[in-house]
Symmetry: C2
Subunit: 322 residues, 2 copies
């Protein structure tokens, strides 16, 4: 259970009670400088950690015991916070199995947020095309703090597939082709703290990823224009990946393709990289069309606090068209 507890963090950036492993405290020191200070919201932080935890176990849901184990919270506390999430419809509990799942409100918020972020919306067609033309499995992932989270997996026609990476699964940045592509897209100054923060976890659970190997993989990705996972975690499962950027240059996520090693020789790597590069360009074009201005509103008028240029806050029921 200690190992389980060490894995779990709310959006990878929140200090939660009862978690005291060395590597975690070290990385929180690193990150707290970049995050709003936590004071007077322990309960909220805990609830949102639970939400994220449940989000990453979408398909099978989670039992209360797993939530307790994964969060490090005491059972009455976890249950009470889950009740609050259930009242908000962000989480729901299946009566028969008692397991907890993301609720419909999470979906609705995601839809409302997609007007600012829709990376996967823009990527789905490309993933379908990649898997159709290659026959292999393709993935979309996003960065969450120092980790990569798989958002979508698209099956190809080839019958031998790895089923290890599923939506919600999360790995340290650098572990896996999509995660490596996003890491390699960062500057060295950004990469070093991430490696430092993840060092304990990598040493404990990712034996194939000593830091020097990750740095070499970063160099490879920068040199070749695509990242390569030569079966570092699962010997026969190889993958290549590329980062995708918003028009303003920020990393939106990554696309990757996985196949068994016999389908990932040098020649086929190049072929798949060509397909991948074209689809990445298409996703980036769709993102550009979707956000005429970047999601952070950088195109908005600058100048001081800029309050004069902001939309009026008109919390009222507009006339209705439907």
């Amino acid at each position: 259970m200690a190992a389980l507890a060490s894995l779990i963090r709310f959006s990878d950036n929140v200090r939660v009670g009862n978690m005291s492993t060395i590597w975690m405290e070290r990385r929180l020191d690193t990150l707290e400088k970049a995050m709003p200070e936590a004071a007077g919201t322990q309960s909220v932080d805990r609830a949102l950690m639970l939400l994220s935890l449940i989000g990453r176990h979408g398909e099978a849901g989670m039992s209360l015991a797993a939530v307790v184990a994964g969060s490090g919270l005491n059972r009455p506390t976890a249950r009470r916070l889950l009740l609050a999430l259930m009242r908000s419809r962000l989480v729901e509990q299946e009566p028969e199995t008692r397991r907890y799942f993301l609720g419909e409100e999470a979906y609705v918020l995601g839809v409302l947020a997609s007007h600012r972020f829709g990376f996967l919306d823009c990527a789905l067609e490309s993933l379908a095309s990649l898997s159709r033309t290659s026959g292999d499995t393709s993935f979309a992932s996003v960065r969450r703090g120092d980790f990569a989270v798989c958002l979508h997996r698209e099956e190809g026609a080839f019958p031998i597939r790895t089923h290890a990476l599923l939506p919600g699964h999360r790995h340290p940045l650098g572990v896996g082709a999509g995660a490596m592509a996003m890491l390699a897209a960062l500057s060295d100054a950004e990469i070093e703290p991430i490696l430092a923060a993840n060092a304990p976890l990598l040493e404990e659970r990712y034996a194939g990823y000593p830091p020097e190997t990750i740095r070499a993989d970063v160099a490879f990705a920068r040199q070749h224009g695509f990242s390569l996972n030569p079966g570092r975690v699962l010997a026969n499962s190889w993958a290549i990946g590329m980062a995708v950027r918003y028009p303003d240059g920020r990393i939106a996520g990554a696309l990757s393709i996985a196949a068994i090693d016999s389908r990932m020789g040098d020649a086929r790597q190049g072929e798949l990289a060509g397909h991948l590069g074209r689809e990445v360009a298409r996703v980036e074009a769709r993102l550009a069309r979707r956000f005429a201005a970047p999601p952070s509103g950088a195109a908005r008028p600058a100048g001081g606090r800029g309050r004069g240029a902001t939309p009026r806050d008109d919390i009222s029921m507009g006339g209705i068209g439907s």
Copy 2:
């Protein structure tokens, strides 16, 4: 400000401090019976109310003053809770304008939740088809408690359009064609408490919707197979709508089409209703394909608590394919 405060509720079901209008208290009495009891999570409930509030103001975001006005919270409290939401990346603040928006984590959770709920994913193609063939504006909405929330709006080619209903906008069930379609899909026993709960708000802000008119519109929708908004809110803006169901019969949401009154004569209503019915059937077929079992897992083995049949909680990093 009192009018503003009366509008805001977290997922329409949470009692929040400082809100004491008669209609709100009355409806909470009605609803608390159906909701997990709130004890020891006031802070969490408040934070999630803010999240929902910001979610419904996606495009323009919200200032702190608007959040304070809309939530009824004191400013330091609202700010502190917003900081917690920002730490979790569910909310982000735009530095130039200081406005708050849904963050990328909301999008990621929505993507992860879409494996259980993807109504809009299944509806987008149909909305595009409806607007392409009709030339008018089409909408997808979902039920949130006693309200309907617009998730998506698809523009048609006809140049005269109402821009009143936007994603995030929320109206009482029954107000607007999509909201009416969802209301009419409920049983009378389900409808009456909703009308009772919404009565103060309807009286205050929806003069065109006395309860007997809503009941007549429900009867019309049940008789004709589609709901009709004959310009009740905006005189020249008419709309028709239909509910969409998950395979297990629960209401997934509604599709609707809006047009100016001169384009909504009886003959064209029938024509549009035909298109709408076909696309609703297509959406329902896509939902059926997507969820071989209904989202609530009703197909799972029954029998007592059914814990023996549940997936193992294996919170571990699986082997990786990407």
